[in-house]
């Protein structure tokens, strides 16, 4: 689910997305400098050409002024009416561009000079000769020089430039505003509308249309977008439903469960109301699949789903978590007993027979029930808690309702702790192999030892295999543990031999998974070779369950082990299948009668009868019998009477570590080295 989220949630990618640069601003940035530059260049160019033409016009004008003044002053100059000359010069001083004028006579002396009040730096000068002529003479009378200034032109050009610049800036500003407004109307607004639709769609996963009405490209885009949103909307709805529902049964799925719990904790009715959470697991659904095929299996699940729906009230909630797991939640129950009754009612509904392929099938299920107050902060842990109860139900009493209580929780926590501690256990050698002797009822000699695994946990102390072996198996460490036990056993055999008890054999329990391991035989031989012990000193105990799961493979492995010389013993016989056919089919040397039959002996006539049958059958099949759980001498006597020759149990010895066992052995009188391998089955195997 979290993977799905990562894939569908685009917000995860947003930090990497580039910072938003509005298109309008980008357009303005791209346009305005160009606009400004063009306007600046154009106005500067126009102004420059106008300025130069004005300069040349001014020069030409000044030349004309000088020439006309030269004509006017020729006579007064020649006739030395210098006051008149000055008068003529004064006339031209009205022209603001003229900074001064000087008239020189033919001797070069300045005879008239006028200067403007304000003289400045940018001065140009024009000089023209003054010729005087009348009817009789034509003479050079002198020269007129006019100083004039371009300052007016500069100032004019400057102010015009400033005006052009201001007008240009205003025009640019106006363009900018117009661009902003129009871009906002034509681009920004439709984009924002679509963006907003996308944002809203992102927020709640629904597809919202964008509110754009224009008929331009953006209008078309928006319409296409809306059409896409429409399509997406349907797809999203379907997706949303699919994400939250099981396609087979139509029930909400595991994902919905999380949401449902969140809802329950948020708006559970009364705070003191209890929420009943039933975790349902169908027993042996695999068998139904195997027997009737997967289609029928699916059909079966659909039936179950319908039943669950039919069994609950409207306010209850049913989900399929996957496979054969279902959940039923009743949001308000009065008390724990009512919850239990409800769970039982659900279980009963499931257990009605179903017809599959014209055959009646009675579904069986286990229910783990957890009840919590609606305001319990641990409400979201309900599935886990119910699962603990379910585990308990399935392991202890399949087909029942197990209610989560303190003990179950404690068990669960301890189990979880142990499971987590397994790797450490291996690494730190916390697993120990203890031994329990197998005694010949007649000679009272110890003929063999059963290797029993113990876990010396630093906190929990020594833990028996019944508690931790399932955890070992679940964590996939069966093979490792078996190898460990095998190695220890070989080492123990070596010690036994050294202690002068080479005739004592050691029995190892083989878990079912090991029987499927083809390399076991080779490893066994290699390990024995390493410790220099005979494979025939090893006895391998198997259970019926491990045989029937994979008959062909188990048979092959057993034959291989037996050929190496190991003895094969069938453990816990009498419980489970207790198939007599198995005794004949598999290459067995020994049968261990389960202690369940021994404990009531000699008082229970039925148990004595069963043991008697087993003993006679074993005798017929040539199998050695050994009774487990011998605790009292009369049990040993009864066994001996019924023809069971060997036994093990607290009567003789509790399981203990090797050193203690060796010590214990050393105290017992050593019988003469009579090897009790009166199992005749070995010879035929080797002969075959």
């Amino acid at each position: 689910m979290s993977k799905d989220e990562a894939m569908t949630d685009p917000e995860r990618h947003e930090p990497a997305a580039p910072r938003l640069r509005p298109v309008v601003r980008a357009m303005i940035w791209a346009t305005v400098p160009v606009l400004l530059l063009v306007q600046l260049l154009a106005s500067t160019g126009m102004e420059a050409s106008s300025f130069w033409s004005q300069i040349s016009q001014l020069d030409a004008h000044m030349a004309r002024v000088a020439e006309s003044r030269a004509e006017l002053i020729a006579e007064p100059l020649w006739k030395m009416r210098y006051d008149q000359v000055t008068g003529v010069l004064n006339e031209i001083m009205n022209d603001e561009t003229i900074a001064g004028a000087t008239v020189y006579d033919d001797t070069g002396a300045a005879i008239a000079r006028v200067v403007a009040r304000s003289a400045d730096h940018s001065i140009a000068e024009i000089s023209r000769p003054v010729h005087y002529s009348n009817g009789n003479i034509a003479v050079h009378a002198g020269r007129i020089v006019i100083d004039y200034s371009y300052a007016g032109l500069y100032a004019g050009a400057g102010s015009r430039m400033v005006r052009l610049l201001v007008v240009g800036l205003l025009a640019t500003f106006a363009t900018l505003i117009a661009m902003r407004i129009s871009a906002n109307i034509f681009i920004g607004r439709p984009l924002a509308a679509m963006m907003s639709a996308i944002q809203r769609s992102k927020q709640d996963g629904r597809a919202y249309p964008a509110d754009v009405k224009s008929s331009n490209e953006f209008g078309q885009l928006a319409r296409a977008f809306n059409a896409m949103q429409h399509t997406t909307s349907g797809a999203l709805d379907r997706l949303g439903h699919m994400a939250g529902h099981d396609p087979l049964t139509g029930l909400p799925n595991r994902r919905s469960l999380t949401e449902r719990l969140a809802v329950a904790s948020r708006d559970g009715g009364r705070p003191d109301a209890l929420v009943a959470f039933c975790f349902i697991d169908l027993d042996d659904f695999k068998g139904i699949n195997d027997t009737f095929g997967h289609e029928a299996g699916d059909n079966f699940l659909v039936h179950i789903a319908e039943r669950l729906r039919g069994a609950v009230e409207a306010e209850d909630w049913v989900a399929r978590l996957g496979g054969d797991e279902f959940v039923v939640i009743r949001p308000e129950v009065g008390h724990e007993k009512a919850a239990h009754a409800f769970a039982q009612q659900v279980l009963d509904a499931i257990s009605e027979p179903i017809r599959l392929h014209d055959k009646q099938v009675v579904p069986r299920a286990s229910i783990g029930l957890a009840v919590r107050r609606a305001d319990d902060p641990e409400l979201s842990h309900l599935p886990t808690l119910a699962d603990i109860a379910l585990y308990h139900a399935k392991s202890k009493a399949p087909g029942t309702v197990a209610v989560l209580d303190e003990a179950l929780q404690r068990d669960y926590r301890r189990r979880r702790d142990l499971e987590l501690a397994i790797p450490t256990g291996f690494a730190e050698g916390q697993f120990e192999v203890w031994y329990q002797g197998q005694v010949d009822f007649e000679s009272h000699d110890v003929v063999g030892l059963e290797a029993l695994i113990r876990w010396r946990h630093p906190e929990h102390g020594v833990i028996g295999p019944g508690e931790f072996l399932p955890l070992i198996e679940r964590s996939g460490n069966n093979a490792r543990l078996t190898r460990y036990v095998l190695t220890e056993a070989c080492w123990a055999l070596q010690r036994l031999a050294a202690a002068g008890r080479p005739q004592i054999r050691i029995a190892i329990n083989l878990p079912p998974s090991e029987l499927a391991d083809h390399s076991l035989a080779a490893e066994l031989r290699a390990t024995c070779a390493r410790f220099n012990v005979a494979v025939s000193s090893l006895e391998l105990e198997i259970t019926e369950g491990s045989l029937i799961n994979n008959i062909a493979s188990a048979t092959a492995t057993l034959h291989r082990l037996r050929r190496l010389g190991a003895t094969i013993a069938l453990d816990d016989f009498g419980t489970g299948y207790s198939s007599l056919a198995h005794l004949r089919r598999f290459p067995l040397d020994k049968v261990k009668i389960d202690k369940a039959f021994i404990s009531e002996i000699p008082d229970s006539a039925e148990d004595k009868a069963i043991v008697g049958v087993i003993a006679s059958l074993a005798g017929t099949l040539g199998l050695t019998l050994i009774a487990e759980g011998i605790e009292r001498p009369e049990q040993a006597a009864a066994m001996r009477e019924m023809g069971v020759r060997f036994g093990q149990g607290y009567l003789y010895q509790r399981p203990q570590p090797l050193d203690a066992m060796l010590e214990w052995l050393a105290k017992r009188p050593k019988s003469e080295s009579r090897i009790v391998t009166d199992s005749p089955s070995i010879a035929p195997e080797f002969a075959a």
Binding site: W78, K79, M80, R81, Y82, D83, D105, T107, A109, I111
Partner: protein, 385 residues
Amino acid sequence: MTGLWRILLAAGMAWGVLMPQGGAVAAAAKRLEIVFVNPGKIGEVYWDMVAQTMQAAGRKLDARVEVLTSERNYRTMQELGFGVVARHDKPDFLILSNEESAAVPIMEAAEAAGVKTLLLSNTLIGEDAVRLGPPRQKLKTWLGDITTDLQTAGERMANALIRTARDEKWQSPDGKIHILGIGGDEITPASIARNAGLKLAVDAAPDVVVDRLLFANWTQSEAETVTANYLSWASRKQIRPAGIWAGNDPMALGAMRAATAAGLVPGRDIQLVGLNWSEEALREIRAGRLLLTDGGHFLLGGWSIVLLRDYADGCDFAAVSPRVEVKTSAITRQNLGSVADLIKTRAFDRIDFARFRAKAGRCGHYDFSLDALVSSMPVPEGVAD
């Protein structure tokens, strides 16, 4: 020389005392009514003196001279002239001066009214002269004109300057004698004639250059300005100014002030000449600062009455020419005494105008020279002493 003048003057005065009867006899013939439209304004020395000599002559020659002053306004002048012509009792003669050619309409009106006219000092020029031709042809009542020979005056003035400069060796580094000319204006005939005289004289003297002919509007101050400008220019050109020719006395006096201001001593470093016989000029001549002043043409007033008396008495001056041109005379330190007093006091009644009338059988022949003038006056007591 002075002694001779004194004798002549004394003789003239004696003659005047002795001959009053002759004038009375002549006057008895017919008393003339003469109107003179004066173009100038009252206080304008020349025209005042013209009118005064005219009236003095009238008293001597039995003519009543009425002087109307147009105050230098030609419209006023024309109005006055038309008024005279339109009178019921028309005068015998109307004397006009064609200043600014304003007299022509009056002459035409007089022609229509049958009033005889005489032009004084300024005659017809240009288009008018062409159109109306000589006197007594188109305009029958236009008897003629009496003018001064100002060209000769100008020439005489220039020659006096040249002579002095040559004597004093006032040549410039270029070896030439440099002279400044100051004219009154460039358009009036009286000015043009004087200037032409200057030109004639200089053209005849290859060693003389007129650097400039400047115009000062007849006024002293403007002449002073242009002279100052000239002197400054001349010093830059390294010219040694030898003389200043001025078209009238006020301009000569202005030039004199400028020369003095420029550090020159008139009469010693530079010579100046003027025209008009003005009182101030005579004073400067006496002081040795002015070389001469030409003129005496204010006497045209008196001479015009002489002409008209003779005409009325049947001795027409047109026997020689209707156009009478009177020579002017130069007054220098040498002949200063003879007329200085006359001008100073304006005692024109001392002149016996009857003596200047044409002799019988010699109509049109007149001697209006300075000598004749001097001899016509009694020797003054102060001078005789």
